[in-house]
Structures are given as structure tokens and as C-alpha cells.
């Protein structure tokens, strides 16, 4: 640890002051960041649902939710409560076990992926060495949940919807992984903290978006497709098709799908900001500002201040991307399934392969700009 807040260390030292052993202190520490991130994810979903309602209303010249709380901020909570108290229906001829396991398998990998999202140098649950690769691996479990819930519903529309959702998810995973690989190539590390640190040299100028513009666009398109957002929301396609693999779901099980897709959207936005927009970095490096104002960067108060700026920056960038995603949803038409697969396999895959090759070449030619 060069610098930065280390809450875990301070917390453990604090508990050791009461005469607890370091192991017990560690066990007491472990659930805290997990709970914090879980709460953050759920609150993020509530905020996103509210934003979605308000922005869609603005895009269609409506007012949107207004009566539940000021500006309708309590509307998502009302939605959630409604889903919570609804009757939990399992269709008579459905396969009960798989029907229940499907939504869980969709939600759990998404939540597990929050393990690697850093909000600061030490502000993440675990800085695992395989970092971003863990997210790619975990997101590949999701199609099994989709297929499972489609099959278990015992409904041909659900089965077909599940197959389509899984096909979409699989075909966009490959360009996604390849554009992440280009970033990893430049960073020489899979860890998300290293990826952000590599972009922190010269503030906004050293962000990866300038070195990987193609990768950024490919990643964003694929992330939208993975989250089943418009223009790629074919599995659901609320106005046109039967609602795909979710057709037979009601109550809390439906809410799990809903929650999963929104958490996944926020996670994707966070990862785009980490991979391409400098993560927790301020557009002008905080160290430079501190030097300019003659402040000691390692003083505790400055540390707390920079850490809060880091969290604010990460969330701000992520919500900017969420805003773009919502705006896209309410302004673009939906693609057809054949256009979707064509775009994935015939356009994004070759482009991301070429991007990877060019990145490797540039890394060899200009090691000072593209990571040595």
C-alpha cells in the first residue's frame, strides 16, 4: 500500500484494542464491506428505476411519477413493495425446483461480480489478482439461469425466449471479453485497481477512452446487449413479443429478474467507467491539486477528502453512462434477432479482434503510451 485509506487495517487495529485476536477481528470485518456493497447495489437500482421513469417521462413529454414522495422518489420503493407482497405463483405443470433456481442463478453471479468494483485504492471488497477476468467468468453463468427458467416454465414461448436470451448473451460475451483483453494488454494486469492506477497519470488525458476508442464503443454496445437493454432487449421486447423467459413469472421471482437486470446495468456502467473513464480518478489529478495548494497528500483529512472525491467520481461517471443507456432506451428502435446476431458476429467480433491486434502492435511500437 503506497497511500490511501485502509479501513480494514484501521478497523482490525481498533478491534484489537479491545483484546480480540486478529482472526476474530477479520471475521467481524468480513461481512461489513459485503453488506455495504449489497446495500449500495440495491439503492443504486432504486435510483436507476426512478431515473428511468423520470427520464422516459421527459423524453415523451410527460411528468412521470409525482405523488409518491417529492418528485416521486419513493415510487421505486412502492414498486418493490408491490412485487414483494404479490402472490408467488408456480404454474401447475412447471418444474418447481428449476423454476425457483432459474432467477437465483441469474441474480447471484451479477451480485458476486461487485466483488471487484473499486471505489478507491482500498475501497473494494477484495482486490483479487484475476480481477476483471472473474467478472467475465461469472457473467458467463447467467445464460444457464435464463435457459433454466425458460425450460422450467413449461411454456413454448418461455423456452424460445430463454434460448434467444442465451444466444444473445453468448454472442456478445466474446467481443466484450476481447475488448477487455485489449485493456488488460495495456495494463499488464487483470486487477481492476491496477487498471485504474494505470490511467491516473495525467488526469482526463490518460484515460483509456483516448487510447481505446473502438474498444470503448464495442464494450458499451456489448454491455447493453448483455443487460438486455434497448436497442437489444429482444428477450423481453415488452411491446412486441410475449415476454420471453419471464412470461410465467410473478411476484418476487419476477422481481429477481428485474433486480438482476438493473444491478447488471449499474455494474456494466461502473465497469465502463473503471476500464475506460479512469475509475475513481478526478479529471485533474488530485495529487496535482494538493501540490498546487501546498497540502500534504498523506494527511488523514486530505485522505478522507480524496477518498470521498473518488467515490463521488466513480458513481458520477457510472450514472452518466446509466443516463445515456436510459436515453438510448427511449429514443432508439429495437433491432431484429437476425440483425442482433449479425451485429454481434459479423461486425463487433472482427472489429474487436482487429482492435486487439492493433493494440498489441501499438504496445510494441510505443511502449511508453500503451503500457510497456
Amino acid at each position: 500500500m503506497e497511500y490511501g485509506l485502509d479501513l480494514e487495517y484501521s478497523f482490525n487495529e481498533f478491534l484489537k484494542g479491545f483484546g480480540l485476536s486478529s482472526e476474530i477481528a477479520h471475521i467481524i470485518w468480513l461481512p461489513l464491506p459485503m453488506l455495504l456493497v449489497l446495500v449500495a447495489a440495491v439503492v443504486g437500482v432504486l435510483v436507476t428505476v426512478w431515473l428511468e421513469r423520470k427520464i422516459s417521462a421527459a423524453a415523451q413529454q410527460r411528468i412521470g411519477p409525482e405523488y409518491a414522495g417529492a418528485l416521486g422518489v419513493l415510487q421505486p420503493i412502492a414498486d418493490g413493495l408491490k412485487l414483494l407482497v404479490k402472490e408467488d405463483i408456480i404454474p401447475a405443470k412447471a418444474d418447481g425446483i428449476l423454476f425457483t433456481a432459474g432467477p437465483i442463478l441469474v441474480l447471484v453471479p451479477v451480485i458476486l461480480s461487485w466483488l471487484i468494483v473499486p471505489f478507491g485504492q482500498n475501497l473494494l471488497i477484495s482486490n483479487v489478482g484475476i480481477g476483471i477476468f472473474l467478472w467475465i467468468a461469472l457473467s458467463s453463468i447467467q445464460p444457464i439461469g435464463l435457459l433454466m427458467s425458460g425450460y422450467a416454465s413449461n411454456n413454448k414461448y418461455s423456452l424460445l425466449g430463454g434460448l434467444r436470451a442465451a444466444a444473445q448473451s453468448i454472442s456478445y460475451e466474446i467481443p466484450l471479453a476481447l475488448s477487455v483483453l485489449a485493456i488488460v494488454l495495456m495494463t499488464n494486469s487483470l486487477s481492476t485497481v491496477d487498471i485504474v492506477n494505470q490511467q491516473s497519470g495525467a488526469g482526463i488525458l490518460s484515460w483509456n477512452i483516448w487510447r481505446q476508442p473502438v474498444g470503448f464503443i464495442v464494450f458499451w454496445i456489448c454491455a447493453l446487449a448483455e443487460c438486455e437493454r434497448l436497442p437489444f432487449d429482444l428477450p423481453e421486447a415488452e411491446e412486441e413479443l410475449v415476454a420471453g423467459y419471464q412470461t410465467e413469472y410473478a411476484g418476487m421471482k419476477f422481481a429477481l429478474f428485474y433486480l438482476g437486470s438493473y444491478i447488471n446495468l449499474i455494474l456494466s456502467a461502473l465497469l465502463v467507467s473503471i476500464l475506460y473513464l479512469g475509475g475513481w480518478g478526478f479529471p485533474i489529478p488530485v495529487e496535482l491539486i494538493a501540490k498546487f495548494l501546498n497540502l500534504p497528500i498523506n494527511a488523514p483529512s486530505i485522505q478522507v477528502f480524496t477518498a470521498s472525491i473518488g467515490i463521488v467520481m466513480t458513481v458520477l461517471k457510472a450514472y452518466l453512462l446509466v443516463f445515456i443507456a436510459i436515453l438510448l432506451r427511449w429514443t432508439t428502435p429495437r433491432v431484429r434477432i437476425d440483425q442482433l446476431l449479425d451485429l454481434g458476429w459479423k461486425f463487433l467480433l472482427p472489429i474487436s479482434l482487429a482492435n486487439l491486434l492493433i493494440t498489441a502492435g501499438l504496445k510494441l511500437a510505443f511502449p511508453q503510451f500503451f503500457g510497456g
Binding site: E23, L138, S140, I144, E173
Partner: protein, 199 residues
């Protein structure tokens, strides 16, 4: 026993039980869909065992390749070809069972022999490399294991081309299953007419 070792032991026991019971379920269950999903569970628990061995990269690769690709493809295939079909009774079922049992027992004895003869203990516990293993695997793949690595990719390419040729029958002049000349105009035409003209 410290807390870390206890946790590790509990995780190992649970994962091994899931692997064994899940694998038995894959073989013994009647429903092929359940078998396929259980297979996914077995792959996941094997990934968990890799994690316990500090091989996080191998664990993630296991999840990505076996769960995310192989298992999804198996489930896809089962769901697309969900044909209810009575299997033909096999005449010499007993002799077949004897042969397959003997083959399985031979393989088991081979595994037991490997288990007994191999030296499992590391020369020193400091030898475990943990997070470094990603770099080490990459170095090996592009130096001394380069040929097997490339041969595997050629094998996958061959399998893919074969699958495309089988799936797109219009690239052949004759239908593989019926031997009839193929109508080149409609790709999605089924090889048998859907409505047979009965009069």
C-alpha cells in the same frame, strides 16, 4: 485448528460432496435436462476446489469454459433437439454392460495407481505461487506447451467447420441423410416435405 483451516476444511468437504453426489446424479437421473444442469453444478464445484488450491485463474477459466461454454452448449442442444423418441431395445445388452464395466474398472485402477505412486507433497510450502500463477501459465502456454496449445486450436477449428458443413446442407449437392439432390434455392427447407400429399 485455526479458523482459516477450519473454513478450508468445511469448504473442501461441502465441495467434494457436491461433486460426488452431483456426478452420480448426472449418470443416474432419468431426465436428461436435470443431468445437464447438475453437470453445470459439478463444474462449478470443481472450480471451487481449484480456488481452494489457490489456483484462481484456473478456477475462473474452468467457470468460463466449462460452465459458460460447454455446459450452455449441451443445454442448448438438449433444448433444441427435444424429441420424444422411444429407443430401440438392444439385444446384447448384457455383454455390453460387462464390457463397459470392465473399461470403467480399468480406468479406475489406473487413477488409483496414479494416486498411490505420485508424490503429492510439495518440496516446500513456500513453492505455491498464488496470484503469480496467471503469468506462469501464460509463459508455459507460449513456450514449452506452444504446440499442444496450437494443435488444440486447430482441433476446435476442424470441429467448427464440420459442424457448419453438417448444419448448412446447401453447401452440398446431395442431402447427407436421404441422398436426394438438394434444392439450392431455399436454405431453410426441411429435408422431408412437411405435408405429404396423400391423394
Amino acid at each position: 485448528m485455526s479458523i482459516a483451516i477450519t473454513t478450508q476444511f468445511i469448504c473442501f468437504t461441502v465441495l467434494s460432496l457436491v461433486v460426488i453426489i452431483g456426478a452420480l446424479g448426472v449418470v443416474l437421473l432419468e431426465s436428461i435436462v436435470y443431468s445437464a444442469f447438475l453437470l453445470g453444478g459439478v463444474f462449478m464445484s470443481v472450480a471451487g476446489l481449484y480456488l481452494l488450491l489457490n489456483a484462481s485463474f484456473v478456477a475462473a477459466a474452468q467457470v468460463l469454459v466449462y460452465v459458460g461454454a460447454v455446459n450452455v452448449l449441451i443445454i442448448f442442444a438438449i433444448m433444441l433437439v427435444n424429441k420424444k423418441e422411444d429407443l430401440k431395445p438392444i439385444n446384447d445388452i448384457k455383454s455390453r454392460r460387462v464390457i463397459s464395466t470392465s473399461i470403467c474398472l480399468t480406468l479406475l485402477s489406473l487413477l488409483i495407481r496414479v494416486d498411490l505412486t505420485n508424490v503429492w507433497s510439495l518440496s516446500s510450502p513456500q513453492n505455491s505461487i498464488g496470484e503469480e500463477s496467471t503469468i506462469r501459465i501464460g509463459e508455459h502456454l507460449f513456450s514449452d506447451y506452444l504446440l499442444p496449445f496450437e494443435v488444440a486450436s486447430v482441433l476446435l477449428l476442424m470441429a467448427m467447420i464440420g459442424a457448419i458443413v453438417l448444419a448448412r446442407r446447401d453447401v452440398m449437392s446431395k442431402d447427407i441423410s436421404t441422398g436426394l439432390p438438394v434444392d439450392q434455392e431455399l436454405i431453410e427447407k426441411s429435408s422431408e416435405p412437411l405435408l405429404t400429399n396423400k391423394n
